[in-house]
């Protein structure tokens, strides 16, 4: 198990280097002079030269890459132009907010997605199944930011139940955090709930048709026992493998959802960096998010190996 974990970490290193290179390369896509775009039309030539130096654009591409990697190994993700602060520092400051939101979404996704999928599978082809699958299908078809806006109209403007957004630190006011985070978390989670419910249902149907389920029934096991002990343990294995993907989409969605609900997390940070063409911030933010995701994927892989004895016991 430990060897497997270490091997997965070792495999992630070259990918992380490539990820960084891609992030670096994105800056090269900027048409013309990024410094000129950043500085705006009113910049003096002196200011431009200074900005070019700050961005390292005055050097050759190769030495830019060398400097970029050199800084990266020292934990330096660059310097945000708009905020005037190191990218890593800003990102680390903002990440607890995004993490708490992502965790809340993940919990919603897993609980709702799994239970909808399991119920649909158990009531296969009955009306509950049809309703659940229609809901899941709509879930995967609706844009999350639009859902967020519609929820704001409904629950904040008309019903006045929930705040339109903002963020309340969990440890200062858990109830306030809960109220403020529910709509953003739900609009982030909706698509994942649909995906997970569909996957869970189809996996559960497949598992329920397996011989070992018949064996369990032949032992006189009750239906709840068959579902929970015998079927769920097998359903969870493929479900765990999509957790990494779910986290990835949750992080993706946070840019737009955090912007809509005025949640000051990494997503909103990146959203603002895009609007302000803060290239170092975009670059560093991308690397950071990809690195976090790679790490989470390793956790998911290890969890998968631990869940499936066929992988665990060699």
């Amino acid at each position: 198990m430990l060897a497997y974990t270490l091997r997965r970490i070792a495999q992630a290193v070259p990918i992380l280097l490539l990820v960084s290179l891609i992030s670096f390369g994105i800056m090269q896509l900027v048409p013309g002079d990024p410094a000129a775009v950043l500085a705006g039309p009113n910049a003096t030539p002196d200011e431009l030269i200074k900005l070019r130096q700050t961005l390292g654009l005055d050097k050759s591409l190769l030495s830019q890459i060398m400097i970029f990697y050199g800084n990266l190994f020292q934990g330096d993700l660059g310097y945000s132009i708009i905020l005037g602060e190191p990218v890593l520092k800003v990102v680390l400051e903002r990440s607890p907010i995004s993490i708490s939101l992502a965790l809340y979404s993940l919990v919603l996704t897993v609980i709702l997605g799994l239970s909808i999928g399991v119920i649909a599978a158990m009531k296969h082809n009955r009306w509950i199944d049809q309703v659940a699958m229609t809901f899941a299908l709509i879930g995967v078809s609706v844009p999350n930011f639009w859902l967020g806006l519609v929820m704001i109209v409904l629950f904040s403007v008309h019903l006045g139940w929930l705040p339109t957004g903002g963020y309340v630190p969990f440890f200062e006011d858990p109830v306030g955090w809960f109220l403020a985070a529910t709509m953003p978390a739900l609009s982030l989670a909706m698509m994942q709930i649909g995906l997970l419910a569909r996957l869970t249902r189809s996996t559960m149907l497949e598992v329920l048709g397996q011989d070992y389920i018949r064996t369990a029934r032949a032992k006189g096991a009750s239906e709840p026992r068959v579902i929970i002990k015998h079927a769920m343990s097998n359903v969870l294995i493929p479900v765990v493998t999509v957790l990494g993907m779910i986290l990835s989409v949750l992080l993706s969605g946070s840019v737009i959802v955090e912007t809509i609900f005025a949640v000051p997390g990494i997503g909103a940070l990146l959203g603002n960096a895009i609007l302000g063409r803060d290239y170092p911030m975009i670059q560093g933010g991308l690397i950071f998010v990809a690195a976090v995701l790679l790490m989470l994927n390793i956790v998911v892989d290890v969890l998968y190996a631990w869940l499936d004895p066929r992988v665990r016991v060699q």
Partner: protein, 337 residues
Amino acid sequence: MQKEPILRVEGLRTTFTGDEGTVVAVDDVSFDVNEGEIVGLIGESGSGKSVTALAIMGLLPKSTSQVTAERIMFDGRNLARASDREMRRLRGGSIGMIFQEPMSSLNPVLKIGDQLIEPIRIHERISYRAAFDRGVELLTKVGIPSPVQRMNDYPHQLSGGMRQRVMIAIALSCSPKLLLADEPTTALDVTIQAQLLDLLLEIQAETKMAIVLITHSMGVIAECADKVVVMYSGRIAEQGPVTDIFDRPGHPYTKGLMQCTPELTGNPRRLTTIPGALPSLSALPPGCRFAPRCGLAQPACEAGRPPMIGVGQNHASACIRADELVASAAQPEGAEV
């Protein structure tokens, strides 16, 4: 005065409903299993023998299948009227079952020990420790070496033969009065098949439980069974004591089966000596279902369902020419001696 049979099936009928409509997989099947008796249920794949066993166990999916029967008497209870709860109490308790596919019949993510102990813990008020000890004992009994270690193994760490031994141990764990063995050796190597049959016979001799042994091999029947029920296309073609069936088969299908199964190791998926194949359940012939493949068929065979004709003690055949067949079988043998 003969004792009541442990299992009496009367008029069992099973239908499946699918996209293509409803088909009758088992049609009016009746047979008895006495205490301590091994009854062989033989037929080709698709003849309804496995469905019969699953219907008795109440293991067919309710959404797609309907099981009806005049009576299924087991140990004084009518299973045809039993509630889900009663059925659960019997399954794995008084009735054990072994399936055809040892590779897929064990849950891949649970330890052997957990799966073996489960029925004991479901049916008896017993501590985990005591159940575990019983599990080890059972594994020893079915011939699994180093049973304590095996309890902590996962199914994928065991060979097919070993897994089937575990399945037998699971089925035996609550000392059932009846064991339904659905082609327990079909999926295994020939040498292991023989070993497992011997094991089953050994255990049966010791425990005196009744066994319904489902197979498509006349060799297995000859080796193990006291009584034979021959199924064809969802109906019983012939049934009777094993010696009578072998000496004086009263149905052309039984005769055909014996001609193509000369030995225990024979494992014919297709019966080469009988031309044609099982009729599709959705397009059954009107009269005798074997008539289209039967060398002895007459126009009368297609007129209606042939009745069961008694041709000896406890020996009956669903062939209108059963008497002729039995008589002709007896003569040449007698002449030879």
